[in-house]
Amino acid sequence: MSGQQINPDDALYVDMYIAKNSQTMTFIRSSYSAILGLAAGTLGLTNWSGFIFYFLGSAFLSLLIFLVKAKGNPSPYFRQPLDVFTEGVLGGMLSYILFWTLLYGIIHVYD
């Protein structure tokens, strides 16, 4: 094991920036999932189509962040490069459901 424990890459991340990046990601995802929810509700999506819409939408957002903001190489910004695709997806789900239900209810259930 000796020597292999010393990993020179560890210290190259500044904790503050990592935290800031994940905060930014949460912010983007929260607003985005709320807007996605509004869209899904307006379109009147139901059942699986709604959830598929959400995951497709999040995947699209992840791809945008991956390509535009991280320029195809997320490793300088996140400890785990895959975090770009996973961070905050499930957290945004709850607000997506809320806004989806709200708009769906207002537009398609009432009146």
Binding site: G3, L12, S30, T46, S75, S95, Y110
Partner: protein, 325 residues
């Protein structure tokens, strides 16, 4: 929307628009406003952080010291590591770093008479109350005025299991589960508004529903988990913690990260093939480390001539930037 018409045929039900205007939307607005107010009140309550005293700071730092030695001792040469290990395990045993070295010998009094403990507990209680009261009030308000209202229809189906939860107060046996009552709308808001609060208040806000739920579930025990509290709510016996840290230290074997550093450098500059490191690792793990590892570097450097001609380019460590998105 084919799916939509099918559903409608199955169970067409019209809701009075007045319910939307006077129940559905007001509940949401009230919850947002309460969340904001609560955030501000929490900020106010947290205005004065508690002063730590010097001795307890020293105590926690000393414990950290043991952990750091165990985790990063690999950077130290043998003699430095052993000296620190001996010193720390001795000090931990004697309790040099403890806040109150004689605490363990004294009989434990009633914890309620310890002012520091009571203060920490009051603090936790206050925060818990801040979390619980607004939610309880809103829930009571909804229960009192709007119980039995069918508010909205979820756009996705749920199993019958959810019926008793989502349609509490509506005693029908055959209504579709996706129609939900006012209380369910409340819960939907409680969790879904998280992101809205993140947007308005910034992250780290105090209007966190998850914390509310936790507060409610720990309410029965009445104890706030502070840094000095054991799992039972009693102040933990620091001497025991120090002793267990000492045990951890005693079990830690020193492995020096620089033992083969010359070889690693030679490999890095392409003077030796990468496989030398693997051989070295194997030789070391073969037991009888000292004799094996001593012979292996010398044999390794003999390969320089061969390696220099056909050395594969050794990759330099990837540079990672320190940038923000």
């Amino acid at each position: 929307m084919g799916a939509w018409t099918v559903l409608q045929e199955r169970q067409a039900m019209l809701l009075d628009p007045a319910i939307r205007d006077w129940v559905l939307i007001p509940i949401m607005i009230v919850m947002v406003l309460v969340g904001i107010v609560r955030h501000q009140v929490t900020v106010l309550l947290n205005g004065t952080p508690k002063k730590a005293d010097l001795k307890s700071a020293r105590e926690t730092k000393a414990l950290q010291r043991g952990g750091i030695l165990r985790a990063h001792g690999t950077h130290l040469p043998e003699h430095a590591f052993e000296a620190r290990k001996t010193f720390l395990s001795d000090a931990f045993e004697k309790g040099t770093y403890e806040k109150d070295p004689n605490a363990s010998s004294k009989p434990k009094g009633n914890v309620m008479q310890d002012p520091a403990y009571v203060e920490t507990m009051m603090d936790g209680m206050k925060k818990n109350m801040m979390n619980i009261i607004p939610q309880t009030v809103i829930m009571a308000w909804i229960n009192f005025f709007f119980s039995g209202f069918v508010l909205i229809k979820l756009p996705f189906p749920l199993t019958i299991r959810f019926k008793s939860m989502l349609q509490r107060g509506i005693e029908t046996s055959d209504m579709d589960v996706s129609w939900v009552s006012s209380l369910s709308w409340y819960f939907l808001n409680l969790f879904g508004l998280q992101s809205v609060f993140t947007l308005i208040l910034g992250s780290g806000h105090a209007a966190d529903a998850m914390r509310d739920m936790q507060a409610m579930s720990t309410m029965g025990m009445g104890a706030a988990a502070g840094p000095q509290m054991g799992p039972t709510g009693q102040p933990a016996d620091m001497h025991k913690i120090f002793l267990s840290e000492k045990e951890n230290l005693d079990l830690t074997e020193h492995e020096w990260g620089l033992e083969n550093v010359e070889m690693r450098v030679l490999v890095k500059y392409g003077k030796l093939p990468r496989s030398v490191l693997v051989d070295y690792k194997k030789a070391k793990s073969l037991g009888s480390a000292s004799s094996q590892s001593a012979s292996s570097p010398s044999s390794a450097s003999a390969q320089i001539a061969a390696a220099a001609s056909s050395s594969p380019a050794v990759t330099a460590g990837k540079k990672k930037g320190r940038r923000q998105v």
